[in-house]
């Protein structure tokens, strides 16, 4: 008999087990594509990536080549970057500024609104051919923004973006509010891959439990390099944000360019950090300012957007192309008005922990890839355990596994709803 795909859950006894088959089965991967990636709101990009009318970026979203544009009237568009004629990818640049795009194959030209403008040799077509709705660049079926974060959905129907984001919306605001001028994606993208199932990175990104073991060398480094506030211990809570989204919010020993000072930044840096915190307090009130300045947050927005507001802010997506392989993209987000000095420290901080060359991410990758290898025995060693903290009184700790349970409940709901 085929092993069940459903998590084994018993709230009263504190049991939550996830079948490892969910990480290796090609059929499960196919179902996820239909039940999750064809339906959910998916992150496309940030407004700051298109600072001027005419700007565009191209990237893949759930495997689809997308062209994200801003037209001359400041309207944003999420276009499917595929020629309606015979299907070639139209814009082949990563980013730039252009009012129009010409397909290299037969030369059709499209405005950055998606409108077909020129068909070479048009005499071969009826007179009104260019106006045929089927001959324009397609738009993502749904496209919306939450603040400066843009999302698409490939399902024509479904709940609106704000409803979908549920409690995650306020946490996106906690990021946006760090600037009075707007947050900006800093140039330079970390693009890498992990030989593991995409859900492993969803779990890992909000896993407070693994820090002490997986990242012992990083935590030791912080002490050595004056990079820490010695009296701060890792401590905080995990929260269910609804719809599969979850966050851990906690105090940590690392410096935060907004606005947790560390000795490495010197006395001058201290004055700058204090000024930032004063500005936060003036704009947002004492409590919220304090929370933004001092606490770190790792958030997963179902299914595959991670925003970690830690020693820097990373915006991260990860896209499966097979059960055991994912493509990861990571950006740094920062207040637009940040001084050169602080921007430098932010990026210095980012690279100390995060990304393929950091002091921590390679060990996360090791953990993820070793899990994936372990799941080759999914028939014999069947279950993951994510029950930590289920019976704890007084709320979930940052190093409990509530976050993963939120993710898996939603995963299960969507997979079941979709059917086999």
């Amino acid at each position: 008999m085929e092993q069940s795909l459903r998590p084994v859950v018993d709230e009263t006894r504190g049991i939550y087990r996830v079948p490892r088959r969910a990480f290796v089965d090609p059929g499960v991967f196919e179902r996820e594509c239909r039940a999750i990636f064809d339906k959910c709101w998916l992150y496309l990009g940030h407004a700051s990536e298109l600072p001027n009318p005419g700007d565009y970026v191209t990237r893949k979203v759930a495997g689809r080549p997308m062209l994200f544009t801003r037209d001359k009237d400041d309207q944003y568009h999420a276009l499917i970057n595929v020629c309606p004629h015979r299907g070639a990818v139209v814009c082949r640049e990563r980013k730039g500024s252009s009012p129009a795009f010409q397909c290299m194959y037969h030369g059709w030209v499209f405005a950055n609104t998606g409108r077909l403008m020129v068909v070479p040799g048009h005499a071969g077509y009826p007179a009104d051919y260019k106006d045929d709705p089927g001959k324009q660049l397609s738009h993502a079926p749904r496209f919306d923004r939450f603040g400066d974060f843009f999302f698409v959905s490939f399902a024509a129907d479904g709940e609106d973006l704000a409803t979908y984001l549920a409690g995650a919306g306020d946490y996106l605001k906690l990021v946006s509010e760090q600037s009075s001028k707007g947050m900006t994606i800093v140039g330079g993208t970390q693009e890498y891959s992990i030989r593991g199932n995409w859900k492993l990175l969803a779990e890992n990104s909000v896993d407070g439990y693994h820090a002490a073991s997986t990242h012992s060398t990083y935590l030791e480094y912080l002490k050595n390099a004056n990079g820490s506030t010695h009296d701060t211990r890792l401590a905080g809570f995990g929260h269910d944000l609804g719809n599969g989204h979850a966050v851990i919010e906690y105090f940590a020993p690392w410096g935060r360019p907004i606005a947790n000072w560390i000795p490495l930044w010197g006395e001058e840096g201290k004055r700058e950090i204090e000024a930032i915190q004063q500005d936060l307090t003036a704009r947002l009130g004492q409590e919220r300012a304090e929370r933004i300045a001092k606490q770190s947050r790792n958030m997963i927005i179902f299914p595959n957007l991670v925003i970690n507001d830690v020693m820097a802010i990373t915006v991260r997506t990860f896209w499966p192309t097979a059960p055991d392989y994912m493509e990861v993209n990571a950006w740094a987000l920062a207040p637009a008005e940040e001084s050169e000095w602080l921007r430098k420290f932010r990026l210095f901080n980012f690279t100390e922990f995060l990304g393929p060359g950091g002091f921590a991410t390679p060990d996360d990758v090791e953990a993820i890839e070793k899990c994936q290898t372990g799941y080759q025995a999914a028939r014999e060693a069947q279950y993951n355990d994510i029950s930590r903290g289920m019976l704890r009184e007084g709320g979930s700790a940052y190093d409990d596994e509530l976050q993963m349970r939120c993710f898996w409940n939603e995963w299960d709901r969507r997979i079941q709803e979709h059917g086999a």
Binding site: G188, T189, Q190, Y325, E327, E340, L347, G357, P362, D363
Partner: protein, 168 residues
């Protein structure tokens, strides 16, 4: 070029090339403390991302993969010497091929460029990093030392792998 100038250029070329080959050998033998000792007191080790012009990008303005000052170069080695650096424990096997070396002296600084291909093998996977080095070398007590080592990846993205957990 006069004959003397030509001989000077040859000597410089030979010296820089030997230095880079020595460095590659240390890395492939995981002699990390010796590797670290090749750096000057003020130094940086940089790996830009692949979607910017790595020859000109500034790590204080765009996000890099690696943005180490001298302290962090040291800490990187300290970390890699520990068992807790899980990605490299047990150690991967690496091989650095260094070629197309060019060097020119500009006052006290020697600028050198070279092409590299680095293979990292572990757990059934062999991954390749391809790119070019841009060095700033200085002479300290008669020996060459690295003031800056920049590894520009000539790759579309860091795929299919994820880890610059070795030293490039």
């Amino acid at each position: 070029m006069t004959r003397e100038a030509e001989i000077d250029a040859m000597l410089l070329q030979h010296r820089v090339q030997s230095f880079l080959f020595h460095e590659a050998d240390l890395l492939d033998r995981w002699q990390l403390n010796e590797w670290e000792a090749l750096f000057a007191d003020e130094a940086s080790y940089l790996v830009p991302p692949t979607d910017v012009d790595g020859d000109f990008a500034d790590p204080s303005k765009s996000l890099f993969y690696i943005f180490d000052d001298r302290t962090r170069i040291h800490e990187r080695v300290v970390r890699l010497e520990k068992k807790g650096a899980h990605s490299e424990f047990p150690r991967s096997k690496t091989r650095h091929l260094v070629s197309n070396v060019r060097a020119s002296a500009d006052g006290d600084t020697i600028e050198a460029t070279a092409s590299f291909a680095v293979w990292r093998s572990k757990d059934g996977n062999t991954d390749i990093f391809v790119g070019h080095y841009a060095y700033k070398l200085v002479e300290i007590d008669g020996a060459l030392r690295i003031a800056e080592k920049k590894c520009v990846l000539d790759m579309d993205a860091l795929r299919p792998h994820a880890r610059i957990s070795i030293l490039l």
